[in-house]
């Protein structure tokens, strides 16, 4: 495989209700920042790829408007995935293996704050047997949490500790909106249940935002040591909810076992039990997890996974030898991507 590096990152703060930027402005802001950091111009880029969701934006073909933010003129090689931007980065990584292009600009944008994210996630379920019942994504996450409790893998205090950790780190991170609520584990455990054993704070804060990453073959910047993804059936009854099978497989294919110790990990856990489960199956006991605060304190749907890769790359830029980024889609960690980043 050709060595692919992260040459530039463009981020803007995730916010609760962005009244200023439409999708074009969101994309323009992060794409121009990523290009500037890479020292490149759009016309130097060999491949463009984005991730977004029509249902998050509320209209079909939303990405066809957003491309105005990257300036596809003269005509460019370009593609789009209806998945988190982390998978757009995967497509770009594959494209760079061909040898004819050496640079790619990947971006994702979303407006999760004003969007009916719960309803949209329920609309992902089996449309014959499950979606008509209308379970909320939190209820499904709670079924997984209960399975983990029953298996002796999780306590409610573990959940509160994950949330407190995310809030403490997120409170000082420029990309995270103001933390609303306690940072203390006991105070968190005093909050009422929404779907036992989960409380409102066990669910991610939905935000608006965008992220862009410039990839280059060779050059400087954190190197992608391995990247892979895996899916499971959507039906919770057909999965072992405590096993995170597709997380394990994606990690194995990305080369986690051979990679050596992970210094920093950024996880796409939009419910606290997922954060606990991911730490367990990825063996992150010695790693700094979610230095950005993670997905729980700033979740821009379809951007959060790509943002995890951006944050993991920032950690490597800041001195970490090896970082892991995780992205996810579907209920209860159905679809998972693992990207390993290494210092040069």
């Amino acid at each position: 495989m050709r060595p692919v590096h992260i040459a530039g990152i463009g981020q803007i703060p995730n916010v609760r209700g962005d009244t200023d930027h439409d999708e074009v402005q969101l994309v323009q802001a992060v794409a121009s920042a990523a290009l500037a950091e890479a020292g490149l111009h759009k016309d130097d880029i060999g491949f463009f790829c984005s991730g977004s969701s029509d249902y998050v934006m509320g209209r079909p073909f939303s990405f066809t408007m957003a491309i105005d933010g990257v300036g596809l003129w003269p005509p460019k090689r370009e593609s789009h995935v209806e998945m988190d931007g982390a998978w757009a980065l995967y497509e770009a990584w594959v494209r760079l293996q061909h040898g004819d292009v050496d640079t790619a600009l990947v971006y994702a944008y979303g407006k999760g704050h004003g969007a009916p994210v719960d309803g949209m996630l329920t609309a992902q379920l089996d449309p014959y047997y499950e979606a008509p019942l209308g379970p909320s994504p939190m209820a499904l996450a709670a079924l997984q949490a209960r399975a983990l409790i029953d298996a002796g893998r999780l306590t409610e205090r573990d959940l509160a500790e994950v949330v407190a950790h995310a809030r403490r780190l997120g409170a000082t991170h420029p990309g995270v909106p103001a933390i609303d609520g306690p940072l203390d584990v006991d105070a968190l455990l005093d909050a009422p249940y929404v779907a036992t054993p989960l409380r409102a704070h066990d669910e991610a804060v939905r935000t608006d935002g965008a992220t862009a990453i410039v990839l280059s073959v060779g050059g400087g910047g954190p190197r992608i040591g391995g990247i892979a993804h895996c899916i499971e059936p959507i039906e919770l009854g057909l999965r072992d909810l405590t096993a995170a099978t597709s997380v394990r497989r994606a990690a194995a294919w990305a080369g986690l076992e051979q990679a050596g110790s992970i210094d920093v990990a950024e996880l796409h856990a939009t419910y606290s039990p997922q954060a606990v489960l991911l730490r367990q199956v990825l063996g992150l006991a010695d790693a700094v997890v979610d230095p950005s605060g993670g997905a729980l304190v700033a979740d821009t749907p379809f951007v959060t996974g790509l943002s995890r890769i951006a944050e993991a790359a920032r950690a490597v830029q800041g001195g970490a030898v090896r970082a892991l980024a995780h992205a996810s889609g579907g209920p209860c960690l159905q679809h998972n991507l693992i990207c390993l980043l290494e210092a040069r």
Binding site: Y55, T64, G71, S79, E82, M83, Q124, I231, P233
Partner: protein
């Protein structure tokens, strides 16, 4: 780059309403036929790549998630592409790249649409806040561009009718096609109502349910000859900017140019092509845009694009005869592959050795093309 071949092709029957199947059964109908053609089952597949146009057509968000189980993707990588109308082509290209890059050995790719679950016009005409009003509808978007082509090229109005007749006659040879109009002729097209002047009813594509699947592979399996992928290309440009040529978009021309350069071929080497023609006039327009003919309308007028012409176009009946939007691009790619495999049955072109597949989407913005041949590339 690792050589990649199409070793299996499966399509559903196309129809206005496939009410006999659920969504999972529709995609499986195509996928299982493609696997059977390649002599494989799901165990032999390393990854699944799905393409589809907007999720709002079926009202299932990210349907690849619930269809993963139906396509044997559990425990494997599953990928979802959405590039508007070009998506079927881009999806096949992403799948080919996975093989060519050495990431996977055998990839199942599936594109589909089940428009009968809703009403595509509804999904496209929602009054989203603060957006310009919907003045024209889908055909109304393209009709002014067709008018501009007619003015610029001097093409007579019967050219559109000829394409409409030719594609529907081809469809009579394709049992999977949605429209079978045995009595089709120029008078019938000419007598059909003007919808979006200058587009007449019989010059437009239908709205279909259907799915198309292919197995793309680094090794040849199955009993039938493969189609080798010689080149793939994708190009995009913005929808609206000053001086944009929407009649012959530069992205389309650049896409074709890159395709031929990559393959070391010229348009003259193409034996036949399946191109994305949702309104009859787009055949001459794309012929010029892709470099397949200097004057598209003269090529049509001379009968060159007929099944027995020297440059057969849309032998299967094309988008004018079957249009499950998300799958339409992949059908073009798959039908091109059928020609060079020699498996196109009654709409087979004699001695087709190099064929082109083409798809476009958005406001003529997104282009995907591939060249497939009987011999391995290089």
């Amino acid at each position: 780059m690792i050589p990649c071949a199409v070793t299996g092709i499966g399509q559903t029957r196309y129809a206005a309403k496939r009410e006999d199947v659920s969504m999972p059964e529709l995609v499986r109908e195509a996928a299982l036929r493609a696997l059977d053609d390649a002599g494989l089952d799901f165990d032999g597949i390393d990854a699944v790549v799905m393409g589809k146009a907007p999720d709002m057509f079926e009202g299932v968000a990210n349907p690849e998630l619930f269809l993963a189980g139906a396509l044997g993707a559990a425990g494997k990588p599953m990928f979802r592409v959405h590039t508007a109308g070009s998506v079927g082509g881009s999806t096949a290209i992403v799948a080919a790249h996975l093989v060519q890059s050495g990431v996977h050995k055998r990839v199942l790719t599936v594109a589909w649409e089940k428009q009968s679950e809703s009403n595509a016009m509804w999904a496209l005409s929602q009054k989203f806040p603060f957006q310009p009003p919907v003045a024209a509808g889908a055909g109304g978007y393209f009709a002014p561009i067709i008018r501009a082509y007619m003015r610029r090229s001097g093409a007579p109005e019967h050219i559109g009718w000829q394409v409409a007749v030719k594609d529907r006659r081809n469809a009579l040879r394709n049992p999977l096609a949605h429209l079978h109009l045995p009595d089709i002729d120029l008078d019938m097209v000419k007598a059909s109502p003007l919808l979006w002047d200058p587009i007449r009813y019989l010059e437009t594509c239908p709205s279909s349910d259907g799915a198309c699947a292919m197995v793309l592979s680094a090794d040849v399996t199955g009993d039938r000859p493969p189609a080798w992928v010689h080149a793939t290309a994708m190009r995009s440009e913005p929808m609206l900017f000053p001086g944009r040529d929407e009649v012959s978009p530069r992205a389309g021309a650049a896409c074709a140019q890159e395709l031929f350069e990559q393959a070391g071929k010229t348009p003259a080497d193409v034996d036949c092509a399946e191109i994305y023609v949702p309104f009859s006039w787009y055949e001459p327009m794309w012929l010029e845009n892709l470099g397949l003919a200097e004057s598209g309308w003269r090529a049509v007028d001379a009968g060159r694009t007929a099944l027995d012409g020297d440059l057969p176009i849309n032998m299967s009946g094309g988008v004018l005869s079957s249009n499950p939007i998300g799958a339409s691009g992949m059908i073009r790619f798959a039908e091109a592959a059928r020609q060079v495999r020699g498996t196109a049955d009654a709409h087979q072109v004699d001695r087709a050795r190099l064929a082109m597949g083409h798809a476009y989407g958005g406001g003529s913005q997104f282009f995907a093309t591939w060249l497939v041949g009987t011999e391995p590339p290089g």
